[in-house]
Symmetry: C5
Subunit: 100 residues, 5 copies
Amino acid sequence: MQLGTVIGNVWATRKEENLTGLKFLFVQPERPNGDTTKEPYIAVDRIGAGVGDRVMVTNGSAATNMMPEANLPIDALIIGIIDSVDIEGGGKHEESIRND
Amino acid sequence: MQLGTVIGNVWATRKEENLTGLKFLFVQPERPNGDTTKEPYIAVDRIGAGVGDRVMVTNGSAATNMMPEANLPIDALIIGIIDSVDIEGGGKHEESIRND
Amino acid sequence: MQLGTVIGNVWATRKEENLTGLKFLFVQPERPNGDTTKEPYIAVDRIGAGVGDRVMVTNGSAATNMMPEANLPIDALIIGIIDSVDIEGGGKHEESIRND
Amino acid sequence: MQLGTVIGNVWATRKEENLTGLKFLFVQPERPNGDTTKEPYIAVDRIGAGVGDRVMVTNGSAATNMMPEANLPIDALIIGIIDSVDIEGGGKHEESIRND
Amino acid sequence: MQLGTVIGNVWATRKEENLTGLKFLFVQPERPNGDTTKEPYIAVDRIGAGVGDRVMVTNGSAATNMMPEANLPIDALIIGIIDSVDIEGGGKHEESIRND
């Protein structure tokens, strides 16, 4: 899963079937220390994430497992809102970040 | 999902079975602010997107969920035509773009 | 799907079960204007593509949909031989290429 | 599968259904010689890996095979704790690393 | 599928269920002319590939098709040992390599 921060919203009235009512959020991928990495992308959220939240995102067809019987054509799902990340060892990534 | 703009059409008479009648469009991936990012690729569309439209694309095997029973060998599907994108927070991505 | 040109053949006598008789071709990914982009890779073909043909390739597990019941362990399938690509708009990609 | 080292933990109280009780670890991908490569990401672990362990990770929807009937929306799973890696041939990668 | 050369072995005693007895090999991806490209990764082999063999690898969840009923959490499978690669056309990739 990828760590990231929700940075915005996306609205689309004309959509594929089955997608009506889903919430689409822009997520900026980042390192544990908060540095941004890859390009932002759009993920579905149904656990109540909002702009500024640090989240954990599942990419690829496993995202459709949120509703297996619905066969949703989606490829990214916010699966958790991060409480904290603890990075240890080797001096390369020592840090502890809380999402208050 | 990836944000992008439809930039062209692709025609192919000789195709894999099941793909007859599908519309194939070239999509240029881009950032919320409109900067292009990765290489353009080809996506299936059945919601009426056209050249110049800003769209949301699902990549990977989840794209086949548009017709699960048909087992289509496709890996990209336009799932929405963007009305607007609102990016907030941190000053890094503040913008609001409408697709009129 | 990815645009590319068939650049060669691959032969492998010792193969995974179920793959006997399949044709494996090397494909060079490219932009609509013909510039090469990523590294070439190997794709299965059963629509009669040959060296020099411009093709459209499906990557990932959706490629296995060519024979869903066969559970083929393949990750790239040539799904179309390109007739033409028309790129419009913005001046960035204006071109029209025919595959004669 | 990707080689990497576990570098930290992630906690998220608010999560997608079905994910309660799973352990989420940060993994830093690396080369056989220990050089780090891509960005770290989050993987599920249920074989008892901990910070400092060298592991083998499956990415993509195959990670959901840990519990196929549960339809977990996860995209990375630690599938093994490395005992040793032996790289031979060509002088490019000769080394033998043990995980004691 | 990706072209590569087997460069080593990986041993892991503690593993996910179902993976006992599988052979894990390190594969270095390469171009048809033998230049290395991306980072090496670990692939399952059951067709008898060994260090120094040139192979063809399927990535992603299609790798699990080697034993669909087993639901293996693997994401790379060696599907063929290369006999020869013939690259033609355009002068960019003219070569013919045999794996003796």
